[in-house]
Amino acid sequence: MRITIDEDRCCAAGQCVLAAPEVFDQRDDDGIVVLLQEEPPESEYENTRNAAALCPAAAIVVEE
């Protein structure tokens, strides 16, 4: 699994952090997404897929 994020699309809703806190974080000043792991371990696959599905701005792309 490989994740890419689009900071320009991100609206800082925080859904990704709620779904997969090991994989995503948010910048303190404006809440824009920070990718913690570009290639997460298998144990994080389901959370990561959820995060991508929940993202209201379609800012997370997951390639498998």
């Binding site: 609206c11 800082a12 925080g14 709620l18 303190d28 599905a53 929940l54 209201p56 701005a57 379609a58």
Partner: protein, 406 residues
């Protein structure tokens, strides 16, 4: 206006006050998007399914600069924002890139991390204090007055730096403004009171440059001259944060407690399995979807959605309460089920305008419900469920009074 156009359903069945109006089901089954007559007499598209609703909210061709659709008959043309009051339009009514530029000034305060660090200890303390006060009575107690309204009011006051002793004023004005059962004059008077109140508060805070809270921070940002935010924007944004930040969560909290008390086994399920609170809150958000008349968008060009040929300039309303009950996405959609695999829903909207304060709302609900259940394990309604007065015309659907014994 043609008399034969289907009206948008707005009246709930008195026997099932937590379900959307019954006419919605047939509309949803028939096709995803219908041409309807809105409560104010204007006409446009109504989206009743989940996927098509998500699509409308995600499509940049759908503008947030929209007229109201949910106000009373004969009042079509009223803006959904504050245009008539002479203030600049609110960013929630703007499209990109302006909307995002304003939103980014605020988002850092509303992330799950910021809420956990800056607000959670405060929420824990005030919830405990309010539960203590309830426990000191012999009941029955109205939980709206004793818990569901004070907690969101205190929290938004803490965030913004608004004096809590002003709550009767700002809550009363918000209630008037959001109640589509009241006259235009009453609603406008509520909005004007709120704008006047916030303007005065901003002036007071200007003279206290060191004061805490988001309002003071925004005043400093505007004064720096380095951002999109001008002094003129401040009143609208601060008023928006104040009214949107408390009435919504109060409504959701009251309805959530009512749901737990009127669906056999749900209260006990959370009492025995407190770890389910996270998914339970998402499910309650889906099931209750308080923005009962939906949210509108305006097509910036011709768009086809759900086989509907939407023309440039058409108003498109997503009926989130029924879209969140779409059987194509949710098995047994009319049953609250805390074990669902998905936590997707449109209760906070979707797309780049999705609710800014959603993580504050989650933190409040996630604190109040478990503490209430733990403190009063045998709590129950003091009246018959059919006698609980509902806020039938509120933009945010809610419970007016929730009398309980414990």
């Amino acid at each position: 206006m043609t008399e034969t156009t289907t009206p948008m359903p707005t009246v709930r069945d008195a026997e099932s006050p937590l379900d959307p109006p019954p006419e919605y089901q047939a509309l949803q089954e028939e096709r995803p998007v219908h041409w309807v007559r809105f409560p104010n007499g204007s006409e446009g598209w109504l989206v009743t399914r989940f996927d098509e609703g998500s699509q409308v909210f995600s499509d940049p061709r759908m503008s947030s600069h929209r007229p109201r659709h949910d106000n009373p008959e004969g009042e079509a043309g009223e803006s959904a924002g504050t245009d008539e009051s002479g203030l600049p339009p609110l960013f929630v009514m703007m499209d990109e890139p302006d909307h995002g530029a304003y939103r980014k000034l605020l988002t850092g305060k509303f992330t799950p991390k910021a809420v956990a660090k800056n607000l959670q200890p405060y929420i824990d303390r005030i919830v405990d204090e309010h539960l203590d006060a309830i426990a000191s009575t012999s009941g029955p107690v109205d939980l709206i007055e004793a818990l569901c309204l004070p907690i969101p009011c205190l929290v938004i006051c803490e965030i913004l730096g608004v004096p809590y002793e002003d709550r009767d004023g700002f809550h009363g004005a918000t209630e008037a403004m959001m109640d589509m059962g009241r006259s235009r004059e009453e609603r406008d008077a509520g909005a004007q009171w709120l704008m006047g109140y916030i303007s005065k508060l901003i002036e007071t805070k200007r003279s206290q440059p060191e004061s805490d809270g988001l309002i003071s921070e925004l005043i400093r940002i505007a004064a720096s001259g380095e951002t999109i935010l001008t002094d003129k924007d401040l009143t609208g944004i601060c008023a928006l944060l104040l009214f949107a930040g408390h009435d919504t969560t109060a409504a959701m909290m009251g309805l959530s407690i009512m749901t737990l008390l009127t669906h056999p086994g749900k209260w006990e399920e959370l009492r025995e399995n407190p770890e389910k609170i996270g998914p339970a809150i998402e499910e309650l958000l889906r099931y209750l979807t308080i923005v009962q008349f939906g949210l509108g968008r305006v097509a910036l060009e011709d768009v086809e959605i759900g086989e509907a040929q939407i023309k440039q300039g058409d108003l498109v309303v997503v009926a989130m309460p029924i879209a969140n009950r779409d059987p194509r996405v949710f098995t047994d959609p009319d049953v609250p089920d805390f074990d669902r695999k998905t936590t997707r829903h449109l209760a906070f909207g979707y797309g780049v305008h999705q609710c800014l304060g959603q993580n504050v709302a989650r933190a409040e609900l996630k604190t109040v419900l478990p503490k209430l259940i733990e403190r009063f394990p045998d709590l129950h309604l003091a009246v018959d469920p059919s006698d609980v007065p509902m806020d039938a015309f509120g933009t945010n659907y809610g419970v007016r009074e929730l009398p309980v014994t414990f």
